[in-house]
């Protein structure tokens, strides 16, 4: 698109958005301190940083949700204030948040023109025009969707497209995308990138907020890194490597994202799954050895999470057998599963893992609580000591054992959940998307922990959709598609290409 790029270049003289010296205080905290951000029309500007770095505060200021305490905002060269979400929108700023803000009972077309329905001569709403205009908008971003479908019935990826189409309808010049790929499959990510490129070709400036390095390298032109509310760097993406970007984000160097301290897996079968079938799964058989990390890859809907929940007894199975350490499990019975030594580190931390309002120590000791009790009475001193030892060993950052766990970062929450299983003394741990929603810095710690657990003789089954961690951590890799196992690779023979080929059924 050289012609369009040239066109965008001419506009670049006046930046569509220039934020300078932005500061924002919350009681007791400086969330943003003297932060600058300047956009170029037709370019993708990535905004990176760990949780708490100030990304979301900055975005919320842009969206008009928060007011700023210091600094200036210029839109197309003119100094302005954003007095509220409606005002921000009026001035051409459209933020697509992670949690989609569409009315799920309305059709796609209705949602797009929510702010202002075109009316006919009589003042009644011109439904035919709405439908026609909506279709035209989707043609402009190069995406096909049924505009008469009820929005709530669409997958998240398509709802995102509806939000983007709305941005065009609202004539936004700046589109902010907050972690847009966190629940998308690789195919959907590719589609999203096509649409983003279409937006930039229309001269729109895009702010792309993400943790994911590979995506940023693929889509961004420029990257700004924030840390602890401060501006750390703004560089063309070409000037960055994986290492420099991570270093900017976490403020230190990571030698190796995927450390490997363990040797060969043993030949002791820790878990054996034979012919397991459910509504969503078909004839799944595999074995895992003590000291091994077995990676499972699959696209959305491949059945990874279903498999994980079936083998730990959370969901019922229709056929097949599961044995831990040679002992058969009773299907659909988490109690015996846990007592035999198998458990799930869930992908859905809030929904299935954490007791958000309870303290760290309660969360950590839950599964092993019986071992601290005599006659049903909990020996709280022993419980605390055991929990503290894991907090130290896993370097769980928490103000105290009695802090409510919802106040911890995602990475530290994940470590608590992992500690819950180790305290119980599980021999087989099924980890489902272990790094979802976790900072880069904490990710490497989780990777190191998984490696360490395998080295200690645990069998780890890792369900993941992240290619780097699959390839980096696994001893063996199984690929799933449509509820079946469609490929199996050793660490040495696995490549991204082979795995993706097997995954696409």
């Amino acid at each position: 698109m050289p012609a369009e790029a040239a066109m965008a270049g001419t506009v670049a003289a006046v930046p569509p958005l220039a934020m300078t010296g932005i500061g924002k205080h919350f009681p007791g905290v400086i969330a943003l301190d003297n932060v600058d951000l300047t956009l170029e029309a037709g370019k993708v500007h990535a905004l990176m940083g760990e949780n708490g770095a100030g990304k979301s505060t900055l975005i919320k200021i842009l969206a008009g949700v928060y007011g700023k305490d210091a600094g200036t905002i210029r839109i197309a060269g003119r100094e302005t204030t954003l007095s509220g979400p409606a005002d921000a929108l009026r001035q051409g700023i459209k933020v697509v948040f992670q949690e989609i803000a569409l009315i799920s009972e309305f059709t796609v077309a209705e949602n797009i023109f929510l702010e202002e329905y075109p009316t006919g001569r009589t003042g009644s709403i011109d439904w035919r025009k709405i439908s026609r205009d909506a279709k035209a908008l989707f043609e402009r971003i190069g995406f096909d969707v049924d505009t008469s479908a009820r929005t709530g019935t669409l997958p998240i990826s398509q709802q995102q497209m509806v939000e983007i189409a709305r941005a065009l309808a609202q004539e936004a010049r700046i589109v902010v995308m907050d972690e847009p790929t966190s629940s998308l499959t690789p195919n959907e990510v590719a589609l999203l990138f096509t649409v983003i490129r279409r937006l930039t070709s229309l001269g729109i400036a895009v702010i792309y907020v993400s943790h994911k390095l590979d995506e940023v390298f693929e889509i961004a032109d420029t990257v700004t890194v924030l840390r602890d509310g401060r501006h750390i760097s703004t560089k063309p993406i070409a000037d960055h490597t994986n290492e420099t970007l991570i270093q900017d984000m976490i403020g230190r160097q990571i030698d190796d994202l995927f450390p490997r301290s363990r040797g060969q897996a043993s030949d002791k079968v820790a878990l054996s799954v034979k012919g397991v079938g459910t509504e969503k799964l078909e004839d799944i058989s595999f074995e895992v050895y003590s000291g091994e990390v077995l990676g499972f890859f699959g696209l959305m809907g491949a059945g990874r999470t279903e498999l994980a929940k079936a083998i730990v007894g959370f969901d019922p199975i229709d056929s097949g057998t599961i044995a831990v350490g040679g002992k058969p499990l009773r299907p659909h019975d988490t109690r015996t599963a846990v007592s035999l030594g198998i458990g799930l580190l869930t992908e859905d931390r809030k929904g299935e893992g954490l007791m958000l309002e309870l303290p760290v120590v309660y969360n950590l000791s839950l599964a092993a609580l019986g071992s601290f009790a005599r006659g049903g009475f909990i020996d709280e001193r022993r419980e605390r000591e055991a929990a503290q030892s894991y907090v130290d060993r896993f370097r769980i950052r928490t103000p105290g054992l009695y802090q409510e766990i919802k106040n911890l970062s995602g990475g530290n929450q994940q470590k608590v959940l992992l500690a819950r299983w180790l305290l119980k003394g599980l021999s087989v741990i099924v980890v489902d998307e272990p790094t979802r929603g976790i900072d880069v810095g904490a990710k490497s710690e989780i990777f190191a922990l998984i490696d360490q657990l395998a080295a200690d003789g645990h069998a780890i089954i890792m369900m993941t959709s992240e290619m780097p961690e699959l390839l980096g951590l696994s001893d063996r890799i199984m690929v799933m598609g449509e509820g079946r196992i469609t490929g199996s690779f050793s660490r040495d023979e696995a490549t991204q290409e082979k795995i993706l080929n097997a995954a696409i059924v």
Binding site: T334, T346, G353
Partner: protein, 332 residues
Amino acid sequence: MALTKMVTEVSSPPTSGSLVGALASNGQIVLVAALVIICVGISLVVPQFYSGANIIAILRQVALVLIVACGMTMLLITAEVDLSVGASLAFVGVVAMDVINLTDSVFLGAVAGIAFGAFVGLVNGVVVTRLKVNSLIATIGTMMILQGGVFLYTREAIQNHHHIASFVDIGAGYVGPVPIPVIIAAIIFVASYVVLRHTTLGRYLYAVGANEKTARLSGLRSTRLKLFAFVLTGALVGVAGLILGSLMNAGQPTAGRGFELTVIAAVILGGTSLSGGRGTLIGTLLGVFILKIIDNGIIILQWNQDLQMIVPGVVLILAIYLDILRRRADAR
């Protein structure tokens, strides 16, 4: 490090209203203060508030509500609720009185009453955990069944036909200066406190209410835990029904109207969340005292009688609003 920043960023509210939020999250201090203000206020106008007779009167009323509130606290902690306790209270008295009349045995009557209460709890529990009916709806259902059922059972109050005096002692008797219901309530309260605070069972009840899926994945039998809370609440209704029947020296089918609302209002006022996973028995104790002392105060202040209905209504709304504030403070 980024962590401390993150913690505060998440927990600090972007807008004003933090004062109210802070007050709400320190609920128990507020409750104690409210209790003190109410007591001082009433006693300034009516010095007899502190008379032995009035204190005993208050304690006896507190006892009746507290006994059931102990079970209700545990039930709400598991994220379930039982609205049938008032209707069951009346039925328990009728059944116990009838059995006493038939057998001449207060012991058998007591066993029958408590067993009946526990059975109602079991039915509630099974409907909620097995049939997966929302407990609010399910127990409104059992409430209606019990209200109708008790009139099928008897049209009028069942009298203590054999004039057995020991039955009257359950509610009206004393050990030294302390009314027997107060002693029963104190024992139940302490036992419940210990279970909830210091045993695995108590901890598991919190876990099930905080996140049932987590509890299941951790190997807990969530349905059994909920069933336990239902049956316990039912059995405690049995105890309270026995005391009420004894106080009235009859099984009254019309008793217990609105009792469930008093109990639930007290528990929520005490800081137990309707959405499960949090709550304390100390809070419940304070909640029961506040409601019952307000009630007593309106009577001895000889205020307009309509206030007897209005004030608890206002307190109930206030209690729910506190719960909302608390959750809103948490969401930040």
